[in-house]
Symmetry: C2
Subunit: 403 residues, 2 copies
């Protein structure tokens, strides 16, 4: 049901070389006349009426979905979060038989100017090396996505690398690079407004593609050496948290490295406080291209009523940006897991997010999303496939026999 | 590697009617001469030397497995519990390429004499009605097992029902009934020693079958109206916990119902304190046939180095019994999830168990095990399928470039 309605294309301007644009146009997108939107400020984007349904309709739908799941052969509520996920999914998809058959994770990669300051345990070239690993199928996200029956798209949202021709021809690889990495945000704003637009659009394109391809559940993940520091700076700015409370060990830096990250974040906040007055402004000042792109995906997926699974620490930063740009898109997001990155718990609490799993993971790439999507799929199947007390001839709690 | 060694059959006496025995013998078991063991007391069972490997061998194996997973393209430890699970699994299977391809969950059902005292929100006949639901594929465990590519065996370990002929012919249904339900343990001991042996053997049979069938990962789950009360009594007795601290809402009783369960548990402890002096004694006094059977499966699977996934509250009671009978079998168990049943957290802490997921589930049937098995399978695949830094040409943390 869901893909028959609320399919609106908000903006189609793609800031990419003509080659990538041509490739993009190979996809069978049905576009409608659209208004150019700047997304320069938080209030510039608004979802369609179908998305922001009036509360009574929502309440009635939730009640119907809960009624349906309570008829299943189990004590009411005994499947815990599987039940609440199933009910939310039904509402998002506007379908009491929610479907999670077609799953996709988009991994957005970007290089970070801040990486040269030694905020990561790994050198900056690991970003492009890992992109090739994703395309070769050898990374953790490839393993976990195959395991969960999930397709993977890899998006170069701004990686400091040139790609070999064979890789460029891959249908699952999207080179949407505006610049080879952000600027060092201790010296300059990380990106220009035009670059930020381009990165947002690279993400929106994936949301639009997923809807057009009939994807039922879309995950987002990241790759970018240095990006925990960018994410930390965004959390400090958007959620009003102290620099010391938003940094952690990232890929595995020492305690001294964590101190250095805190000083970098504090320095960035001081430097950009005067110039970055909106969430979008902070995204430009201290963000990353892959973070902006993920925010774009969240915003666009919501416009298509497509549920999105937010991976870990970095993807949560993108969610914080997207939610501050358009609060209504929150309803379409599932938080996958509680990252082992120290600040993630506080950040999730500040966002009122309750993730599905907690396995001490801190890798990114969408790995937490891949595992969570199995659980969300399970929830949909509980709703669709379980017998009811009536159909199975099982006595309900009303028929208590006390001898 | 694992199934080529340590395959020992501890005892093959099956206390079942001749029809079931005949069915059991259809399976291609290779038995060895065995010693009859009574399992009447905690120390009567001991694992083979292959299972209780000397610590240095274990340490060397763990080191090799950790070395292998640290070479994968990810920061060391960044996949959290997936990594510790993969390493444990490698050790259990004695294979640095651990396999979780063939998965099975055994759901053990039993009726409980205590159910007539109104400790459950559901009438006792729900136990057999749900067994038919399992066989019909409509229960939550069927849905989640299908979702995870997991086969299901259903074992009648003592259900108060006769089964229709078509159901008896099912190869995935094992009628191993000694008695149609335990006795009300407020009036009598729940089971006789011979019945307890029979139930343990019904569980051991499943451990043996799984090993013979080349199962890589075995889950155990339960069905039995009244069995949270039996499990609570076992926890109080075996772990020295107060009756009030081991009871919860079960299938969904009211607070008054929880009070009633606490009184039942306290009464049972008083009644049997003098007679039940060992874990096995408490199992007979206040346990259930399905709980005894699950303990048997845990013990037997360990003897075959077959990893076992413990579902929720009731399966944890079986684990507590099995661990007290044979501490070495703990090494082969993974705890699936933290149940929403109030006392489960305290019980897991008392057992030093750290479950994989926490989704607020409290259904049993092996539903938590089914979801956890996907995660354990993921861990095995991380170990087997991920590229290494060397194979993928990715720079490691030693090559830090600081400009």
């Amino acid at each position: 049901m869901w893909n028959a309605r609320a399919v609106n294309f908000v903006s189609l301007d793609i800031h990419t070389p003509s080659k990538e644009t041509a490739r993009y146009l190979r996809f069978p997108l049905v576009s409608r006349p659209h208004t150019q939107r700047s997304e320069m400020n938080t209030a510039s984007f608004s979802l369609q009426p179908e998305v922001s349904a009036p509360p009574p309709e929502r309440d009635r739908f939730f009640e119907a979905a809960r009624h349906r799941i309570d008829a299943k052969t189990k004590p009411p509520g005994s499947l815990g979060k599987l039940e609440t996920v199933a009910v939310r999914l039904a509402w998002i998809q506007q379908n009491l038989m929610p479907q999670v058959r077609r799953k996709r994770i988009c991994v957005f990669a970007g290089s970070h100017g801040i990486a040269v300051t030694g905020v990561s345990a790994y050198p900056p070239e690991v970003t492009w090396q890992m992109v090739l690993n994703f395309l070769d199928g050898g990374a953790a996200i490839n393993v976990l996505a195959r395991h969960g029956g999930i397709a993977v798209h890899v998006v170069d949202a701004g990686v400091d690398a040139d790609w070999p021709e064979p890789v460029l021809a891959r249908p699952d690889f999207f080179v949407r690079k505006t610049r080879r990495g952000t600027r060092n945000f201790l010296e300059d704003r990380a990106m220009t407004p035009a670059e930020c637009d381009a990165a947002l659009q690279a993400g929106r394109e994936q949301g639009r593609l997923a809807a057009a391809n009939g994807i039922h559940l879309l995950g987002i993940g990241d790759m970018g050496i240095g990006n925990t520091t960018a994410a930390s700076a965004l959390f400090a700015a958007l959620l009003g948290l102290d620099a010391r409370d938003v940094v952690g060990r990232g890929t595995g830096v020492s305690e001294a490295g964590v101190d250095r990250k805190a000083r970098v974040v504090a320095g960035a906040l001081r430097k950009h406080a005067a110039g970055a007055v909106s969430p979008r402004g902070w995204l430009e000042a201290v963000g990353g291209y892959e973070i902006a792109a993920m925010a774009g995906t969240i915003l666009e997926a919501a416009a298509h009523r497509l549920p999105t699974v937010i991976d870990g620490f970095i993807a949560t930063a993108a969610a914080a940006v997207a939610f501050s740009m358009e609060p209504a898109c929150r309803e379409f997001c599932f938080f996958a897991h509680r990252s082992d990155e120290r600040a993630h718990g506080a950040v999730l609490a500040a966002l009122g997010a309750d993730p599905l799993i907690d396995l001490g993971m801190r890798l990114g790439e969408g790995t937490g999303a891949a595992l969570a999507m199995h659980i969300i799929d399970a929830a949909a199947k509980v709703m669709c496939e379980m017998a009811t007390f009536e159909s199975a001839g099982v006595s309900g709690p009303a028929e208590i026999v006390r001898k």
